[in-house]
Subunit: 463 residues, 2 copies
Amino acid sequence: MELVNVKELFRKESDYIGKEVTIGGWIRSNRDTKTFGFLVVNDGTFFEPLQVVYSDKLHNFSAISKISVGAAVIVTGVVTATPNTKQNFEIQAIGIEVEGDSQIDYPLQKKRHSFEYLRTISHLRPRTNTFQAVFRVRSMIAYAIHKFFQERDFVYVHTPIITGSDCEGAGEMFQVTTMDLNHIPKTEDNKVDFSDDFFNKPTSLTVSGQLNGETFAMAFKNIYTFGPTFRAENSNTTRHAAEFWMIEPEIAFADLKDDMVLAESMLKYVINYVLENAPEEMEFFNQFVDKGLIDRLKHVTSSAFGHVTYTQAIEILEKHNDEFEYKVSWGCDLQTEHERYLTEKEFGRPVFVTDYPKEIKAFYMKLNEDGKTVAAMDCLVPGIGEIIGGSQREDDYDKLVSRMQELDLNIKDYEFYLDLRKYGSARHAGFGLGFERCVMYLTGMGNIRDVIPFPRTVNNCEL
Amino acid sequence: MELVNVKELFRKESDYIGKEVTIGGWIRSNRDTKTFGFLVVNDGTFFEPLQVVYSDKLHNFSAISKISVGAAVIVTGVVTATPNTKQNFEIQAIGIEVEGDSQIDYPLQKKRHSFEYLRTISHLRPRTNTFQAVFRVRSMIAYAIHKFFQERDFVYVHTPIITGSDCEGAGEMFQVTTMDLNHIPKTEDNKVDFSDDFFNKPTSLTVSGQLNGETFAMAFKNIYTFGPTFRAENSNTTRHAAEFWMIEPEIAFADLKDDMVLAESMLKYVINYVLENAPEEMEFFNQFVDKGLIDRLKHVTSSAFGHVTYTQAIEILEKHNDEFEYKVSWGCDLQTEHERYLTEKEFGRPVFVTDYPKEIKAFYMKLNEDGKTVAAMDCLVPGIGEIIGGSQREDDYDKLVSRMQELDLNIKDYEFYLDLRKYGSARHAGFGLGFERCVMYLTGMGNIRDVIPFPRTVNNCEL
């Protein structure tokens, strides 16, 4: 079938006025009088629906006038200018075929449904306005990220999903096995015998591709990952999912400053891309989901991000300890309430907090000259808190080994990682961007479950 | 640091001649006389290495002349034209700093290493010529695929990795659990008690995002997935990995013919993109990995793919049964030897085989009018065999249910999928492209382990 996308009609309107086209789509509403009717049709390629006018000259007028919401139709008609109305054109139908009818119990009747309810029908919710907008913008953000890095000659690396190492020491990992759970084989001393398991050892789902990514950065200079990561954390919040996607660039011959420049330009690039390519969706979010969203994002793209050291941040926050549930003092981890205070109240724009105490950061971060803090950075944004976490990596073999020993890590597990410091070590840095947090930030959606097509959270793995 | 990528120097050569630049990279070779020396430096952004000339005017001449292969250096110098040599320019060094030395036991000395050996050092092999080429091209192919679909307004969908359903009935799946394998909780009747598991039920790693993808195609019309998929198959071949990436587009208001048009244009687009953007790498593959590769790929982009029905294909193959290990007859599955015969000997170009017996294809494929075959297609390419498998989907509720009953599938598990046939069903089709097979096809690499950064196969889950 030669179908035209509705997006094409809207974006290249003047090319189509007066022409006959055929489109396929789903009915959002249908109202008729005795001699003519109006279909509102959405084909999923464009946010705004298309109006189709039909009359009793159609041989199947009576069938069409009864067709229900949700049905699939193929419409052939003439694109006709409609000045002085909300939309500049409509389709005057020459023929309408019913491709697939919709049952009377179709759950998405023309009324507002709660996000909670829509989560129970994740296979149908992308047909609603909100989720059309969310998932198209999600797709665009993903592409904008690839585009940003590829235009800068970064190599995209698929780091492994199944891993034999627990390298971030993140603890809460999902195990992966092919053993029969009913009959777990045991060794003589009654431990799990992994010799019959698929990989011949315990394996789990990755929590980060960073360490693998570093090996590629030491070969390609600039690389990025973009893949799923997993946390088996039993936390039921609006910001945590068990399965989420992460972007982890890694740059060699680069320090923490370069890392922040990269993070800032990436965020600005992505925001600009979405504002430019999804104006209808962004307008919708701005109006119905998060008032002020567009102004806020535009403000971000046009202002320089703030910079503050952890130590300075603590000084700022300590003055407001009475406003916080968790009181801060030097050495403590920042909670979301503190992060949001800094970015929303203190700076009013995204801000990088740098140079955290080494005790609250990972072993691989580069020790600063003070011996107490590491060259880490978190990027905080209004409405979300931390959206990016990164650092310069310890590139000195001896310092890295001694830090690992302090933390009782098994050096043998990290030989590949130490090799990078033995053979042509170079200063390097990187960060992780939580993809879903980025989608939330750009759409104003408040619950991570509503920006993931089929979310996985504790006790929830539907479809 | 303001470093210039070596790629930039090569691609915009004339802008840089006579200018001073700083680059960071790793030493591939170093040879010196008493008064000057040559470094070959690769910074990972470009396939061809850069020649750096240094002289005893450098304050650290003697240190530099001893620096070993693999070391990281930062070179500042003047880009100088070198007519009548292989490369058009070199860098005449003003200063060279050692960023990180390399130990004497560096495994990648300047000699040829076997792919088998390099697989044992997957963290270092991307520093070799072959794997620089493989993984840069892999990255470009991934991007070209995104670009192809995004330019056509397809929505990129992240279908879930952890799944509660065994929807393809693919059998060999990896289980995902947070239970203590040493103490699997049991119910009263001595079965595994999943009530304490993270998702409160058995879960595993996805083998395909298709069924989820279809739900989005019925909302967005045209979608694609691009994510990791898993098979716990105990097969030790050069073409199978336990973890691999797959691209699964799904198009609504489209039939098998549209599906093949899409597959063919996608493959041609990707080939053209890589030939255009990685000419040095492709030349390398053509010369050292797979002679004739470039001609073959160019031939593919300029010729129409062949089309043959399964029934016709069997007729062709039966005449050559004496040449095959597995003899063919109507109803049998095609083996790689048959696929390659068809595409290499019979057609000499990629070919679509269509309309397979329903018995050897999945339940969701649309039944043809003959009642015996389904609207399926496999795309076979020379050197590989099947690279794409797709079909038009059964969009008729009753036919789908009756096929599922024939196959004893549990209808209740597929309610979401059947809903798509109840509410605005539309003809639709899609296919799956094995990403790694695509990389093998475009690079000529013969083993799937050599196109995956950190391959996972039976008994192998390193790094």
